[in-house]
């Protein structure tokens, strides 16, 4: 902030002064809305507690107040929120991986190998992406179970349950499309088993399989197709469904319960 080169007190004074100056600037007040506690400071009061939500982007996600039982960790186990957070974590780590990965059958496996051995934090980020993905499948599934056991799918929340089941399917598809991308023996044969299964769809099994693979047998076309699905299309659809899901949670009267 300040480039003060005096000793203790002078530096502190200069820092405070420039902080004040910054808060008075047009840039600062254009970033933070009137009423934001970044503009007027925060002292704990019921009014300010409301303003923290109302004057920040969090207002898109949370109301100002929720039912008391809704903040108990023992009720939700935070599973829905953690699923959302895992999605963000997977997006961030996934973007990192995209910098080092080419979705062709010649390059894919070598790129992953290089990522693991030659890229700073490459191995860690790939591990986080992999374990985060498995964890997300688990947390989405557990979230669904929690909702069922609380009867939270009952009116007026029926449709949000349907949206939730769609999100579970998209989560599985995201995980499954990502499974192929390392292009190792595990990926190839797991996907072979999976797509062979879908090839048995009644009536148009072969067509379904062809659409999934982009060709008759798994190859570069499949890799490109699943890569596009994995990094672009499915996340896009998931984000839309999540927006509807979260919006409906609030519109249907906040989370359910207490039992």
């Amino acid at each position: 902030m300040a480039s003060g080169n005096g000793n203790g007190h002078g530096l502190k004074g200069k820092m405070l002064e420039s902080a004040e100056k910054m808060k008075g600037s047009q840039a600062w007040s254009s970033i933070f809305r009137p009423g934001s506690f970044f503009r007027k400071g925060y002292t704990d009061s019921p009014r300010n507690r409301s303003y923290v939500i109302m004057n920040s982007v969090l207002y898109h996600l949370h109301p100002v107040k929720v039912k008391r039982h809704a903040v108990k960790v023992s009720y939700t186990l935070c599973l829905g929120g953690l699923s959302f957070f895992l999605f963000i974590l997977l997006t961030v780590t996934g973007i990192f991986l995209m910098f080092f990965y080419r979705p062709t059958s010649v390059n894919a496996w070598h790129d992953i190998k290089t990522l693991e051995t030659a890229v700073t934090f490459g191995s860690l980020v790939r591990n986080m992406h992999r374990w985060g993905a498995h964890l997300m499948v688990l947390s989405v599934f557990l979230h669904m179970s929690r909702v069922f056991y609380h009867g939270a799918y009952k009116p007026p929340r029926e449709f949000n349950w349907v949206v939730g089941v769609m999100l579970l399917q998209f989560t599985l598809l995201l995980s499954f499309t990502g499974y192929l991308l390392p292009w190792d023996q595990l990926a190839l044969w797991a996907v072979t088993v999976g797509t062979n299964m879908m090839g048995y769809t009644p009536v148009f099994g072969n067509q379904v399989r062809f659409v999934l693979l982009g060709t008759k047998e798994i190859g570069t076309e499949t890799l490109l197709r699943w890569y596009t699905l994995h990094v672009l299309m499915l996340p896009f659809v998931v984000v839309i469904f999540m927006a509807i899901h979260f919006w409906r949670v609030r519109k249907d009267g906040g989370i359910s319960g207490p039992l």
């Binding site: 939500i53 957070f85 070598h110 056991y149 009644p202």
Partner: protein
Amino acid sequence: MPGEVPEHLLKRSAERRRALGLPVPGEEGGAPPEDAPEAPAAGAPADAPAAEAPAAAEGGAPEARPTGDPDSKIPAHLLARSAARRAAKEGGEAPAAGGAGAKAPAATGGRAAAATATAPPSTATGPGGHTQRLLTVVKAGSIQQTRAEAQDKVHVWPHLLVGEFVSLLSLMALVTIFSALVRAPLLEQANFNQTPNPSKAPWYFLGLQELLTIWHPMVAGVTIPGMGLIVLMMAPYIDKNPATKPSDRKFAICIFTLFLMFWAVLVIIGSFFRGPGFNFVYPWKVGTFFDL
């Protein structure tokens, strides 16, 4: 009132009202002179006595009505109009004034005697001399439901956000530490000529792969999961029981728990108890054939 409504709006409204022949609020109540600068020279003096005359005649609250008393909640022109109506009923001159409109007194200037009855013209007079009419009756219940029951609520900040933040950080720590310690598998490069034995689907599909050992793929791989998902999506429409208490919905809970257990057992068998050839093995005897 003049303090709150901008000057130019007041002026515009005064002009409009004058054009329509409606009484101008400021003027009958003894208007401040700057409110009507371009008023017709004859109009203002004619209206002023018109408003005050009935007040004097009836003697009811004489100090509240003229001069637009700021404390009075009722606008001056309404007071004047009602006073005029009352005076008209007594004097019987109203019909003539209603037809002529407000321009008549303005044009004829200083006919103070006639203005007593005619100056505030009663424009909204319905049949039978009513000055208001019933548009509709709105029942309270049809547009708004008032729920009296108070809910026990807490502020999202800090009560919910702190909890969320802590769980977010814990998860982040868990994933980071686990990832630092445990390597994600990366086997040899994909090789079409070398089928691993056993070949397994990702763990969440191993339940389906397990069913494949029993039924035809069309049943086990497509029909059952497809039907399962549809039934799962329709759960809220199938389960009509409104209760949320576990003790009141034993059947639903039993069914769902069976469903969970069914898949969990199949996934565990598929993951750990299936060896070469997808044959049943005991993991403690031959080890596991399972990669995440």
